[in-house]
Symmetry: C4
């Protein structure tokens, strides 16, 4: 395995499947949604991708068993919609690898006759997010009206810094293959894993795909993170004592 290697676990027939990509990134928003979908939909793993463009690393799982870091493709079949979900532990650590691995995803898209791709990510704004917001970017303007009706916000030229990594590159590269693609970015502070932002993205995705997905697990994680944030805020305020000892005021 000195080269990027695709391991096909199962050949499957899908009807006009839609691709959903959720790899690690800002706030792990995309990864949280993809992993949650795989869990809740009981999607089936059909492919694994190993690559020297990923870190030279194994992860330790249950029973102290290791496995190489990788990307994975899961398939889901239903009456409403068929899905191919791209999940994984890491994105490429090199620019070259980013292009190579995105092309693998697009080869798969062509093989399965995919007509639409959703890429999911976070949009870090450097401060706590007050109002749940999902920003959109597309490679075809025809996607805008439909998704605006589901609550996606579209703003000319935003994010100003472009979209870096798989979520952006897939949109750009899909265009030359005439595959429609939209990136859904949940606003997030960028400072921590953000299951609340992931819920916002998932809600819109479910509307767009006419899917029903239980959100309890994400809600639970969101509550945990909120508790940690609250504790951190308390600690920060605690640096200047919140309830100073009156007696001390008269000293010095």
């Amino acid at each position: 395995m000195n080269k990027t290697t695709i391991v096909t676990l199962k050949e499957i027939e899908l009807t006009d499947p839609i691709i959903i990509e959720g790899l690690p990134g800002v706030g792990h928003v995309g990864k949280l949604v993809a992993d949650h979908l795989i869990e809740e939909l009981n999607a089936e793993k059909i492919m694994e991708i190993y690559s020297p463009h990923f870190p030279p690393q194994v992860l330790v799982e249950k029973d102290s068993v290791v496995r190489l870091v990788r990307n994975e493709i899961y398939a889901y079949k239903s009456k409403n919609v068929d899905l191919l979900i791209i999940a994984g532990d890491h994105q490429s650590t090199t620019n070259e690898g980013h292009y190579e691995i995105c092309n693998i995803f697009l080869d798969m898209a062509e093989k399965y006759n995919v007509k639409r791709i959703y890429t999911l990510g976070g949009y870090g704004i450097g401060k706590l997010v007050e109002t749940e917001t999902v920003l959109g970017a597309v490679n075809n303007t025809e996607l805008i009206d439909e998704h605006a009706s589901f609550g996606v916000e579209f703003k000319d030229g935003e994010p100003a810094g472009g979209i870096v990594g798989t979520s952006g590159l897939l949109l750009g590269l899909a265009e030359s293959k005439n595959i429609d693609a939209i990136c859904l970015m949940g606003l997030t502070s960028g400072y921590m894993v953000d299951p609340k932002s992931a819920q916002a993205v998932l809600r819109i995705l479910c509307k767009a795909l006419e899917l029903e997905v239980d959100m309890a697990a994400l809600e639970e994680r969101a509550r945990e993170v909120e508790k940690i944030v609250a504790k951190l805020q308390e600690m920060e305020q605690g640096v200047a004592p919140a309830t100073p000892d009156d007696d001390l005021r008269y000293i010095g």
Copy 2:
């Protein structure tokens, strides 16, 4: 697209065209000039270059539509002079890619029988620039007198650190193909985008090419940047309050 890819949009006939290169760099001086020329001359895009040596990134444009980062070649025909303008979002992120992409530009130069190349950039001096200055460097001493007469300054061994990136490399590599090349560097602080320095470079370029180009757009941007600089200077001085409350003077 795992390799650098050239997309030819249009075959065009040009008469002894001159290449102008203005990619992002110090103060974005070169990019400002190239983009301004393309706009004002209504130049026609004839080629796009995509490469895994660019960042794995898309830019979000009007209507939230993305496109892959790229370099672009524009053509301009007129009675006076024909031009090939090299513009783009990024320079290569790797040394190897710099050499590869510069060679693509030079292959194009040979194809179009180019006899002269102008590369444009900024020369960062680490402080605000008082007097508009354009420094020159050449790959053939015959270029010096002509351009000195247009106001370009030539100083032995300057810039002392050499010229890094496309603007320098094109000069060095063009020599072996017997193509004359000159780099015009606008003095700039190096701290921000500098449309004023771009104007200085453009003025000289217009003289050299006997071009007339409206500068209003660059002037407008220069005024905006000047306003921001003035505000920043005010804020900095504001750290020590400019109009202290007299009452406070008697306390402590």
Copy 3:
């Protein structure tokens, strides 16, 4: 030598050898154990691996003689067990090289019909280690009970950050070749070379391999490091004077 180069020094016959890998890493725990084993068992060097993925560096040895940095394979034959020990000066400096060189180790494993691999390393916890602990991770759950009985601790999902570098990658890549592999990680501060942690790992390894190895040299090094740590702690406490001058207490 523009490519990774294997220099075979000796062809040797081994009976179901076990591989032990101990390259430089956290606390140099793995390297200390491997180098100690080679010394004490008087193992014979059979292979050297040179690579442009190692730093462009020579080491200066006895008599000021240099040699290229490299990885080395040593062989040891005994009635109880035959060993192939992987030692060296550096791990690969690139991700790609990590994969390439691990595959060289695994090709060797297949050639010698290896059925089990031990990879050795340190597990940095960011503070001084109070109780000697060796954490384990495996690529086959069948290895767990046996090694738990020797004192290896197994904890679900630990280390949480996975295992980076050769010690991890070998486990992950060995799986696809049906070779059992276990990583033994000595807890260590991560701040310095840790011969004490190496002793803990070696003790378990000796039980697992039914080997008897003199530990005096490692013990000696451990004592030296302990002296340095004690001195550092003294110096640190010395910043706030431990025995303040009583007189000073009444001033100010």
Copy 4:
């Protein structure tokens, strides 16, 4: 020029030439010696090496004329000794390139039947050097006695960190081609260009090669650097005013 390119300027016949390598490095000691030798011996340039492993950069020279960064080979013929001197603007920026370019030097060594290589460098000790010292390292112990007699110091295992870059790699790689090689390292602070350390190295090299070389230019540069150091030391002491205003002592 997407690959490392060798430009042969002149075919020359040499009798058992000795290679001297002096590329930029710690204190630019090696480069100073090589450049000085080329100048004083009026050596003739016979080869240029260009490479994408060098920075994508041109240098600006006399008359504002640029040239690509490169390595160069100079030849010198005399009754006593024939030399091939390796000089240049940069070392490789990648590990892989280091190996590739060193192999180009060794191919040249084989072509010219070279039996001995001197690599020159600085050995940074992090403080001003009190006594002129030249440390040696070899790839063949037979070189030690001869060079110790010229004043080279040999210390087991020093430099402890090995020798990084061309000066080290050439020694290591030359061994496999049975070419004797010695690295002469002038002790230097490592904080600035050090012509004094270069003089120390050059003096030993001249003894070893039975060369007579005028040192005036290096001496002049050494005096200039000493003046700058003296000024810096003055400025540093000046932070606490050397001649405080007596009046101020009574205020506060």
